[in-house]
């Protein structure tokens, strides 16, 4: 079952002087069971795009296909509630939305909202807590008494507890320390590899794109200008420079070495690939 956009336009504040076309003629099909990065400059439409996936926004024109649902302008969000159980959307800085007295209650809120019985909701919540790397002792703590990075995990656990098939994350690692950020990306990768979840990540961090994602969707001015495998995308540095993103460190190094006379032929993605290629050429 697909997640696809067919000729989708989206206008904020239509028929007013402030009307603004945030998505223009989007045709896009995400590959299921993969990790896809959505990148592009601020204001390019990334967040608007992902808010269509669980019908927080309805397309002004065109059709969005999400699993077995067809979303058009005519659907009422009420009819789409079951969709939100299957497509979990995590906003930017989700820790600002924690509100219950205890962490356990906060994580249980989602399942209870979808009419899961209390005992079962508790089991789901405890599992989700473990999944994000927090032990049982956190369950009865107040979400106000833990660090920023831990709050972020709790917020993500709240979505995992409803066990969605598709996880959509809007800049999930912003503001986390390097290891917290790495642990978070490894969690998403594990959810993908072990639980078969389709993961869509809006990010500005090109290191995460090259290290953890299978595919990349590039947006600019409300349009999708590129959709490729990550390995293919980084083969041409001009594609990255065109959208004013930083090249991943690995590619900056590679380019500098090419300029200095190295002759790499093979594609490379990870640090070890580069080290191997350098070593081959120096020892040759």
């Amino acid at each position: 079952m697909p997640i696809a956009f067919e000729k989708v336009n989206f206008k904020y504040a239509p028929n007013t002087p402030f009307a603004y076309e945030a998505l223009k003629n989007i045709d896009l099909a995400f590959e299921m069971g993969k990790v896809t990065a959505i990148i592009g400059p601020t204001g390019s439409g990334k967040s608007t795009l992902v808010q269509h996936l669980n019908a927080l926004l309805l397309p002004s024109e065109g059709t969005v296909l999400v699993l077995d649902r067809t979303i058009t302008n005519k659907h009422k969000p009420k009819e789409l509630k079951s969709l939100r159980q299957r497509v979990g959307l995590v906003f930017q800085f989700p820790e600002y939305q924690l509100f219950e007295e205890t962490i356990l209650k906060d994580i249980m809120f989602g399942p209870l909202n979808f009419k899961v019985p209390e005992a079962q909701a508790k089991v789901l919540a405890m599992n989700a807590l473990k999944l994000v790397g927090l032990d049982e002792s956190f369950a009865e703590k107040s979400p106000l008494d833990i660090s920023g990075g831990q709050k972020r995990r709790v917020a993500i656990a709240g979505i995992l507890a409803i066990n969605p098939d598709v996880l959509v994350l809007d800049e999930p690692t912003a503001g986390l320390d390097p290891q917290g950020s790495k642990a978070m990306m490894e969690l998403f990768l594990r959810l993908n590899k072990e639980n078969g979840k389709t993961i869509l990540i809006v990010t500005h961090d090109m290191e995460h794109v090259i290290n953890y994602c299978d595919n990349v969707v590039v947006m600019k001015d409300g349009e999708v200008i590129n959709h490729q495998r990550v390995t293919d995308y980084f083969e041409r540095k001009t594609q990255v420079e065109d959208i004013q993103m930083n090249l991943p460190q690995l590619l900056m190094f590679k380019e500098a070495l090419l300029d200095g006379g190295f002759e790499f032929k093979q594609p490379m993605r990870y640090l070890e690939d580069l080290a191997e290629a350098i070593s081959k050429e120096i020892k040759r």
């Binding site: 601020t42 990075g149 390097p178 190295f262 640090l271 191997e276 070593s279």
Partner: protein, 275 residues
């Protein structure tokens, strides 16, 4: 005279665990010092103690040799400006102009002089065009630039950045980094930057590393950042260049330079041409 000197500083939120546990360090005049550490290591608490937003448990904080006490808090706050992480949490004024004016009014600046001062600092952060706009309509990078203008208008000698770019997109980040570098180089301002950005740490004059409430490393980035194992054990990450140098070392290629990218590339190219 040191802009910031901290001796045996302790602080606890709950009277049980010391979030800041016997911390001593010095920030030198005109230096660009970075303070790094895992989430919850106590970095932001230090920033709040330095500007008197939190009251220390014990120990001593000296700003320009003047001890931070209730009595001279006002004098000290004129010497230090701070920009926080979240650009949305530091606006008071209805327009950018009002927001910069707010700090000036607090410091009883002559209203006749205020317009000139505001125009001057708005120009310095390249926000002159936006003076009559609502702060809520600005991008994250623009908001942080306004926050910096408001701080600069107080003419502080020391600027503390508490993860000021961590909520910004790459464009916003480079805007702020460029502005802070100019303030450091052109005006000799002392900078203390709390950050997770390893590339920023590489370029700084001095780095302090916090771990569980203590300062565990204090020195030159070129000496501290090159130890990959140590960085990982402190719940941080080593720079890409250091990790690559170690991967090459495992393959029998030992480099003199392991931190500076340009020098490393030059060394590798030389090795290649020599063979």
């Amino acid at each position: 005279m040191n802009p910031i000197k901290v001796n045996h500083l302790k602080f606890s939120y709950d009277l049980e665990t010391d979030v800041v546990n016997d911390v001593s360090f010095t920030v030198e005049k005109g230096s660009y010092t970075t303070l790094i550490g895992h989430n919850g290591s106590g970095k932001s608490t230090i920033a709040k103690l330095l500007i008197g937003l939190l009251e220390k448990g014990s120990g001593e904080i000296l700003i320009d040799d003047l001890e931070l006490t209730e009595a001279n808090l006002d004098v000290i706050r004129r010497k230090i400006g701070i920009v926080f992480q979240n650009p949305d949490n530091q606006f008071i004024g209805a327009t950018v102009r009002d927001d910069i004016a707010f700090g000036l009014e607090n410091h009883q600046v002559d209203p006749a002089l205020m317009d000139d001062i505001i125009n001057n600092y708005a120009a310095r952060v390249d926000m002159s065009k936006y003076l009559d706009q609502e702060p809520t309509r600005l991008s994250g990078g623009q908001k942080q630039r306004v926050a910096i203008a408001g701080v600069l208008a107080m003419k502080p000698e020391i600027l503390i950045l508490d993860e000021a770019t961590s909520m910004l997109d790459p464009e916003g980040k480079s805007e702020i980094n460029a502005l802070v570098n100019a303030l450091h180089k052109e005006y000799g301002m002392t900078i203390l930057s709390i950050t997770h950005d390893i590339e920023e740490v590489k370029k700084s004059d001095h780095v302090l590393i916090m771990f569980d409430g203590k300062i565990v490393k204090d020195g030159l980035p070129s000496e501290i950042m090159i130890d990959e194992k140590e960085m990982i054990s402190l719940k941080l990450d080593a720079p890409f260049s250091v990790k690559l140098a170690n991967a090459l070392k495992r393959r029998g290629i030992v480099l003199k330079e392991t931190l500076d990218t340009e020098r490393m590339v030059a060394e590798l190219c030389l090795l290649r041409s020599k063979k």
